[in-house]
């Protein structure tokens, strides 16, 4: 009975339409061509040092409709170096697919802390990191011109355009 329940649970967690969603979004168009040869994984600089990141397996799970794959750390381990995209014999834009899966996870409300932090920093300072004032004074010491100062009102408006606050709250 236990097994049956697990199977049922898993069955309901499968979203057979997920693949169409991936296919339709920019960057996901090529993902159906994957034939699981493992070139991406063998090429990946990250996969060699962790057991949980296997680009080909992630694509396989996404194809099957196991949407949960995007809610794990697994996709976020992709460093977006495009080595996989470069070597894929099927022309799958693997790095773009990983990026898209992250975007879809964020839409579903899964966003890692550091990404949230990045986004907030950009909206608050224009830069992805918060800048300690010591660094700005150091520029003066080194004789460098003042750093850029982006108009924060502009960034806020752009954020509103894509409803970014809904994603990071």
């Amino acid at each position: 009975m236990e097994i049956q329940r697990t199977v049922k649970e898993m069955y309901y967690r499968v979203d057979p339409k997920f693949k169409y969603k991936v296919l339709k979004a920019p960057g996901g168009e090529t993902f159906k061509f994957c034939y699981q040869c493992g070139t991406c994984t063998a090429t990946c600089p990250v996969a060699r040092f962790t057991d949980i990141f296997r680009p080909n397996k992630i694509i396989h799970l996404a194809k099957l409709g196991i949407r949960n794959v995007t809610y794990s750390d697994a996709v976020w381990l992709c460093v977006n170096c495009y080595s996989c995209t470069e070597r894929c014999p099927q022309g799958v834009k693997v790095a773009d697919v990983m990026r898209l899966l992250k975007n879809l996870a964020v839409e579903d409300g899964y966003i890692p802390e550091f990404s949230k932090e990045f986004m907030k920093n950009i909206l608050n300072t224009g830069f992805v990191y918060s800048i300690p004032s010591s660094r700005i004074s150091k520029r003066v010491t080194l004789g460098l011109p003042p750093p850029p100062q982006p108009k924060l009102a502009d960034l806020k408006k752009l954020g509103e355009m894509v409803k970014i606050s809904e994603l990071i709250e």
């Binding site: 493992g38 070139t39 090429t43 996969a47 057991d51 397996k57 014999p89």
Partner: protein
């Protein structure tokens, strides 16, 4: 039904397909002209060591067919020749054939090789894929037919610098003729069979595999020569860098096949020939350990899956499901293979003695010119185009096709198609068509 056409049939290409078609037509009493661009008939099959799934010696089953073709009263061989022009239509083609001068009196030469023994020139040998050097006067291969010599004009000292002529002095039969000229002959034929075969993808294009950069990374056809008793190493499986026995061998599948950047199609026979090559290695040396890196095992044919199972069980071949991403090399020139074993998600690298690339079948060089001469169409990949329900007919009536110039296929399929093409072409002569 019209009256009988008494014209001969032209076959372009003297590999196993062309040979079979010629023998079949000859047997029906139809005259055949067989054109081969190389100095001998035999083609790719002559370069192979063994055939799968029976491990028969390739040249041993080919040579009797070559001999039958050579001796057949109805077959006229034109080796070292090319088709230059074709006009006319079904039942009545006019063909211009260029017979290149081989600077040998064909009737006098007995192929004794005295001339080659004294020739001072050494150039890479085409038949042994440049793994060996040959002389400027040479026999195309040991079992060549016609068994006569040819002078390689591009490298012969007499033709390049106006000196030498040693071969002329040593020939006891006065068979050397430096004055020979290329000549054109005109043929009238009723039908044409194209059997020009294939070329192999140059893996230099996949630079991460380091072919030509690493001496111990070879193509599968080079491997066939390395392991063949009549090959450059006399049949000892020695790796090119240091001529030491290769004991750990990796076979990489789909090199240039099933690859959007190169050829999208499957070359169909590589899964089988890799298995054969790994079995042969083990038969040569029981210390050999072979690994075949594949994506999907395509054993399509009777007895093929059994062959693979036997390779695994009896010859200890390790089949690894995963495409190799790159090859590097250590200081001893051992190739190092980087891959994911996709069946247990393990990422690995493995040091090998020798690595063999199963290169993709590609359309033959020169087919664009030939298609234009014949007035037939090529398909999107560059192979000759056929229709699904007339798989042996090109886009032009009276011109038929068989073997690997249509698509990649194995030897039995090529032979079957050759007999088929012979049958449809024979209809033209027997009086059903044309």
């Amino acid at each position: 039904m019209r009256s009988k056409n008494s014209l001969p049939i032209l076959i372009i290409g003297g590999g196993i397909a062309g040979i079979q078609a010629a023998i079949d037509l000859g047997g029906m009493g139809i005259k055949v002209h067989l054109i081969e661009e190389k100095p001998s008939i035999g083609g790719r099959m002559a370069q192979l060591d063994k055939t799968f799934p029976t491990n028969d010696c390739s040249i041993c089953i080919l040579a009797p067919k070559m001999a039958e073709c050579f001796r057949h009263p109805n077959i006229t061989l034109h080796t070292y020749s090319e088709v230059k022009e074709v006009t006319g239509s079904l039942g009545d083609f006019s063909v211009k054939v260029l017979k290149k001068a081989r600077f040998i009196k064909e009737k006098e030469c007995v192929g004794c090789g005295e001339c080659a023994a004294k020739c001072p020139v050494r150039v890479p040998d085409e038949f042994d894929i440049e793994l060996r050097r040959r002389e400027a006067i040479y026999m195309y291969f040991l079992q060549a037919l016609p068994m006569i010599m040819t002078i390689d004009k591009d490298h012969c000292l007499y033709f390049t610098r106006g000196v030498c002529r040693i071969c002329e002095r040593v020939c006891t039969r006065d068979a050397i003729d430096f004055e020979q000229k290329d000549r054109e002959i005109d043929l009238k034929v009723g039908a044409i069979i194209v059997a020009t075969g294939f070329d192999l993808f140059n893996p230099v294009n996949i630079s991460e595999y380091g072919y030509k950069r690493y001496r111990n990374v070879v193509s599968a056809l080079e491997y066939e020569r390395l392991i063949c008793a009549s090959g450059p190493t006399g049949g000892h499986l020695l790796r090119p860098s240091d001529r030491k026995p290769a004991e750990k061998i990796a076979f990489l599948q789909c090199v240039g096949s099933r690859d959007v950047k190169n050829n999208q199609y499957c070359s169909t026979i590589c899964c089988m020939h890799a298995t054969k090559e790994a079995i042969l290695a083990k038969e040569h040396d029981s210390n050999v350990q072979s690994f075949i890196f594949y994506m999907d095992m395509r054993a399509i044919g009777k007895g093929f899956q059994k062959y693979i199972s036997r390779g695994e069980a009896e010859y200890g071949i390790k089949y690894v499901r995963g495409r190799v991403t790159k090859i590097t090399e250590d200081s001893a020139e051992n190739p190092i293979i980087w891959f994911e074993d996709t069946q247990d998600s393990a990422i690995g690298k493995m040091k090998m003695d020798l690595t063999v690339l199963a290169t993709s079948f590609i359309p033959r060089r020169g087919r664009v010119d030939l298609a234009e001469i014949l007035g037939v169409e090529l398909d999107e990949y560059g192979f000759f185009k056929v229709n699904d329900l007339t798989p042996l007919s090109t886009s032009k009536p009276g011109i038929y096709i068989c073997g690997c110039c249509k698509e990649p296929m194995d030897i039995p399929d090529s032979v079957a198609q050759a007999s088929g093409a012979a049958a449809v072409a024979a209809e033209v002569i027997m009086g059903v068509k044309g």
